[in-house]
């Protein structure tokens, strides 16, 4: 079976005009949003992975004074998605904070914005085992979970190697590189073969790992497609169209 079967025949109505790509993932309809978030319409669930909040200040502490706007920028984009879709459940799929000290460096205003995001809905931090205690101790709004089952899907931060039908994960920060003639571009991308899905990083400063990297190989039995984030829509690209670094 080709990953192309995941592409939805007959587009579903876009809840907001953002150029989403609709796919059927392990039997569940979902929209791959231009923001890099995943929208599950039946569960009214919005999923964003790898926010890496306070990455800028983590570098600053080590002497590289990156602009301190990454947390605000990431939260703004997340707020825009929440405003557009009004999800019942907001899932942050792990690596929400860049490092162990990030929560301590979070500005009060940013903490208030996180709290506002949790208001009127369920906020879940699917952080994987290692961060659970940390998050619990931080008195953040919402609830910390290890994994999450939704319809035919299972949401977790780090993808399991080998077959995992229905898995939705982050962690790897996939991006796609396309070369045509003498032009090339490198963009964040979803990767899916119709059975499982890897989300791109949502955080403003989160780097990317080329989809052709060996780290992705154990995840897909056959070549996945890349759903590449453009300026105004998501472009489905065949595996063959992608270049390695």
């Amino acid at each position: 079976m080709s990953a192309l079967h995941a592409l939805h025949r007959g587009r579903l109505e876009d809840p907001t005009p953002c150029g989403s790509l609709w796919v059927i993932l392990h039997g569940t309809d979902c929209a791959l949003r231009c923001s890099g978030a995943l929208w599950l319409p039946e569960a009214r669930m919005l999923v964003a992975a790898d926010l890496h909040l306070e990455k800028g200040s983590a570098y600053a502490a080590r002497g590289q004074l990156l602009p301190p706007y990454d947390t605000a920028d990431t939260l703004s984009r997340l707020e825009a998605e929440v405003a557009a879709l009004d999800p019942a459940v907001l899932v942050l799929l792990g690596d929400s904070f860049h490092d162990a000290g990030a929560m301590g460096r979070l500005a009060a205003e940013a903490a208030m914005r996180l709290a506002a995001l949790a208001r009127g809905r369920t906020l879940l931090w699917a952080e994987g085992n290692h961060d659970v205690e940390l998050l619990n101790a931080a008195a953040l709004p919402g609830e910390v979970v290890d994994e999450l089952h939704v319809a035919s899907l299972i949401l977790r931060h780090e993808p399991h190697p080998g077959p995992a039908p229905g898995e939705v994960a982050g962690h790897l920060h996939p991006c796609a590189k396309i070369v045509r003639g003498r032009s090339s571009t490198r963009r964040r991308a979803f990767l899916t073969d119709g059975l499982r899905l890897v989300l791109p990083a949502f955080g403003a400063y989160a780097g990317g790992l080329n989809a052709r990297d060996a780290a992705f190989a154990p995840l897909f039995a056959h070549a996945p497609i890349a759903a590449v984030l453009g300026e105004r829509r998501v472009y489905p690209l065949a595996w063959e169209a992608l270049r390695g670094d």
Partner: protein, 888 residues
């Protein structure tokens, strides 16, 4: 003062040269040249001096003579001494060459003078030894000097410095590298207030600009004795405008009407100080010919492939020829083509900046031994290196600027009294006009050159961080020091403070990084680096050259079933290599290679089987744009019919038919032609203003046409013309409106912010200013990694603090460099009310060259177009699959 400081009266060798030196000149049957004596005189008078003398005129010796004399006359000392003379070369190779050449007079006269070179290639052990035992004369590069500025021992090391010599100063000043160098000179002057500055050059278009650049400005408020930061300094709190303490009022300018017992090294008018100017006698005028194929002038292209057999004949007729080209790729291609017809197996070599250093040194050594008949080379051999045997310079494809051409012609024949011979080989018919214009410019010795620049503040940030790593500084004293550096002479206190704030905390409006200061105030109120680790990391990232991220090209070898990198063949642009797929073949180092892949910092290749054609076309066309100055000459030549008769017959015919079928614009007019071809409507115009400003104009015209509903589809630009095509007719436009200067306002802003050029400019500023570190202890970032993260930072910073210092720097760079907005502005002013429009039934003779470039050059578009095209293919594939299912 007079532009030419003619030493008066005529300097006499007896008065100026000690016996030992006179004997040495006599022993070689030489006579000291007047400009060499004038330099000794300037030296004795303690003056800054700029020497302009043609190649072969003993210029380098003239620079060193005052130091050699002074060093030979000083009494012996038991104490170890520090550096007396510092020599700065723009090229490592030139530094090595000068080191070698200086050895001869020192040895032959038996002078008690030690000379050592220090470049990036100098071993660590030797560099350490140089720090403990300084030579009398240290030969080095601007990057090494920047490192000295970031070293705590710098003040003591240079306390006795008497002279700094800047060789090939025209190649140093007009860039960020020049800004950094000039700031370093200001620092040296603080260490050694009596230090003289000496500049050397063969080609200078605006001597007064260089004379200003060379010497300290705004110096009256600097403490000249003692040099301590505390002396004469006005108390200034951080972040406060020093109103009451404006430099003019702070301390009076030294009174220059009284004869000074200790001669001042300055001379100037008004606020600007200038170095003395010493001119060497001009050499014999060069003989410059143009190679024109009879009635076969090409319409387009840039390789001059048609002329290679004639070039080969020219090489045969010469003793040794240098074949200059404008890009490394063209060097590869020409080298390949010459060897294909090299029936006599003449020793022809290849030299460009991407080849492995050992390879280049080998070619240089063979050249020095007079074993080669020709070297195909790029601008890496433009400068300085002295090869007596060269008697012909061939310029393949147009030189694009007259100063560059004169510099290159100077490589032939290092004897002053014999004419240099040069041969220009135009690649197509517009270049024939350009080469003719260049010949006339050379005959008139008219030079183009870099305009005076304003110092870049990303560079200032790097410099200030370096100073903080060396020793604590006082803010106000530093402001004075920085303003003594000519490119920063006009820097305001606010502008300076903004840079210091950037260095300290990143300069963000959101002040959350106050606890992460990179520089901090010590109890004495002086600024110093936060800790040793920060200093160490800064030192790893010093310098102003980062332009192109490169990968090593290595021979692939298989070890444990893994391809690994073997012998290094050279370095190539990462941006080119990452577009190759495994199996692609390309030309490099005179061979065809098969690309195997990239691992880390290495691109792995294997030799392609014999007879394989290089499949992948090029790494970039001409990197130089036609200079403003040559462009004006070309416009004049086209406008003045009586001058056409010097041109080849087919070019004359081309111009004639153009005048019948369309129009020949006068010197101050710009011709615009519109016509249809197939389903497309074309607009072609001919500003002759260089490919960079044309490219920018294309982008802005396209935006306007889009807004006017003309549905533009694409554009292409070369050095002479630009073409835009659209779905809708373009002949009924209001062209005065279309080319209005207001396009440089909102249209430019809107386009610029999205432009990849801005992202690239920002990346450079982020690296040079130290926002992003290229090198970290133990690992080096590849261009790929750096590009990626700076793009993210650019997007975030643009949204949240659009007036941040680095965005200002990036916009300024884009405006002068990669977009040439300044030149575009002059173009639009020039053509206002002077646009000649011709609506034609079909394409004109002038339009052919630029239209032939369609498809050859990439038509720049949004990156999203790339994605859309690729996605279309996927959808096509999806449809095929569906059919198969139906059939099943």
């Amino acid at each position: 003062m007079d532009a030419i400081a003619a030493p008066s009266p005529e300097p006499r060798a007896e008065d100026l040269l000690p016996q030992r030196f006179r004997d040495w000149f006599a022993g070689r049957d030489w006579e000291a040249r007047p400009h060499q004596l004038a330099m000794i005189e300037r030296g004795r008078a303690g003056r800054h001096a700029l020497l302009i003398a043609p190649t072969g005129g003993g210029k380098t010796l003239a620079g060193f003579l005052p130091s050699l004399i002074e060093l030979s006359e000083r009494p012996p000392s038991a104490e170890p001494r520090s550096v007396h003379t510092l020599y700065i070369s723009p090229l490592k190779a030139l530094a090595v060459d000068v080191h070698r050449n200086l050895g001869a007079p020192i040895a032959e006269m038996g002078l008690p003078v030690t000379v050592e070179a220090r470049t990036g290639d100098t071993s660590l052990a030797k560099r350490e030894r140089q720090k403990l035992h300084p030579p009398d004369i240290l030969i080095t590069t601007p990057e090494q000097l920047a490192l000295f500025c970031a070293w705590p021992g710098g003040r003591a090391y240079f306390a006795e410095l008497k002279v700094v010599i800047l060789d090939e100063i025209h190649a140093l000043h007009g860039s960020k590298r020049g800004d950094l160098l000039n700031l370093a000179l200001a620092r040296l002057q603080m260490f050694a207030p009596g230090m003289r500055r000496v500049g050397l050059s063969a080609t200078v278009n605006d001597p007064d600009m260089l004379r200003r650049w060379l010497v300290p400005q705004n110096t009256f408020s600097l403490p000249f004795e003692g040099g301590g930061a505390g002396e004469g300094v006005r108390p200034q709190p951080f972040r406060e405008t020093p109103n009451e303490a404006a430099p003019q009022e702070a301390s009076p300018a030294p009174d220059r009407t009284h004869p000074d017992p200790c001669p001042s090294p300055f001379e100037g008018e008004g606020n600007m100080y200038m170095a003395d100017l010493v001119l060497g006698a001009p050499g014999a005028p060069p003989v410059v010919d143009m190679l024109v194929s009879r009635n076969a002038s090409p319409w387009s292209g840039w390789t001059a492939k048609h002329a290679i057999p004639d070039v080969y004949e020219a090489i045969k007729s010469a003793r040794t020829a240098l074949v200059f080209v404008n890009t490394r790729f063209q060097a590869e291609l020409s080298f390949q083509m010459l060897w294909e017809i090299n029936e006599e197996s003449l020793p022809i070599a290849l030299h460009h900046g991407s080849l492995a250093v050992e390879q280049r040194r080998k070619v240089e050594a063979a050249m020095a031994r007079d074993e080669l008949r020709a070297v195909v080379c790029t601008s890496t051999l433009d400068l300085g290196i002295d090869w007596g045997g060269v008697d012909l310079v061939i310029q393949l494809a147009a030189p694009k600027g007259s100063a560059r051409l004169i510099q290159r012609i100077g490589r032939a024949n290092h004897r002053l009294d014999e004419a240099s011979r040069a041969l220009l080989v135009p690649a197509h018919r517009f270049e024939i006009l350009e080469c003719q214009a260049a010949r006339e410019a050379v005959a008139a010795n008219d030079l183009d050159g870099d305009p005076e620049r304003i110092g870049a503040r990303d560079i200032l940030a790097q410099h200030i961080m370096g100073l903080a790593c060396a020793e604590p500084f006082d803010l106000v004293a530093l402001y004075d020091e920085v303003r003594s550096s000519s490119p920063f002479a006009e820097l305001t206190w606010e502008g300076f403070e903004q840079v210091v704030d950037f260095v300290a905390t990143g300069g963000y409006a959101l002040r959350t990084y106050d606890r992460f200061h990179r520089i901090v105030r010590n109890p004495e109120g002086l600024y110093t680096v936060r800790n040793g680790e920060t200093a160490q990391r800064h030192r790893m990232n010093v310098g102003a050259i980062i332009d192109i991220p490169m990968l090593n090209v290595r021979l692939a070898s298989v070890r444990a079933k893994q391809k690994v990198g073997g012998r290094k063949i050279g370095e190539m642009e990462e941006s080119y290599l990452e577009q190759l797929a495994t199996g692609d073949t390309f030309l490099f180092a005179g061979q065809v290679w098969r690309f195997e892949g990239i691992t880390g910092l290495d691109a792995l290749v294997t030799p392609a089987p014999p007879g394989t054609e290089a499949k992948t076309p090029s790494w970039g066309g001409s990197k130089f744009a036609l200079s403003t100055y040559l462009a004006a000459r070309v416009r004049r030549m086209i406008a003045e019919r009586e001058r056409w008769n010097v041109l080849p017959d087919d070019v004359q015919e081309w111009l004639q038919i153009q005048s019948v079928r369309s129009y020949i614009p006068s010197t101050d007019e710009m011709l615009v032609e519109t016509f249809r071809r197939g389903k497309r409507c074309f607009l072609v115009c001919y500003p002759f203003d260089g490919r960079i400003s044309h490219g920018t104009l294309c982008q802005l015209l396209t935006r306007r046409l889009e807004r006017l509903g003309r549905q533009p589809l694409g554009f292409v630009a070369n050095d002479y013309a630009l073409a835009v095509w659209a779905m809708k007719p373009l002949d009924d436009l209001d062209f005065d409106q279309l080319f209005q200067e207001d396009m440089l306002g909102d249209d430019l802003e809107a386009w610029l912010d999205e432009s990849f050029l801005m992202k690239r400019a920002f990346r450079h500023c982020a690296l040079l200013s130290g926002l992003i570190e290229r090198r970290m202890p133990g690992r080096e970032k590849t261009g790929r990694q750096v590009t990626f993260s700076t793009d993210l930072i650019y997007d975030v910073l643009r949204r949240h603090q659009p007036d941040h210092l680095l965005l200002q720097c990036a916009r300024a760079d884009a405006a002068t460099g990669s977009l040439d907005v300044a030149r575009l502005g002059r173009l639009l002013t020039r053509i206002r009310g002077r646009i000649a429009v011709r609506s034609l039934p079909r394409v004109s003779p002038f339009a052919v060259p630029v239209l032939l470039e369609i498809g050859r050059e990439t038509v720049a578009g949004a990156a999203d177009a790339l994605l859309a095209e690729s996605a279309d293919e996927l959808i096509a594939e999806a449809m095929r699959l569906d059919d198969a299912e139906v059939a099943a």
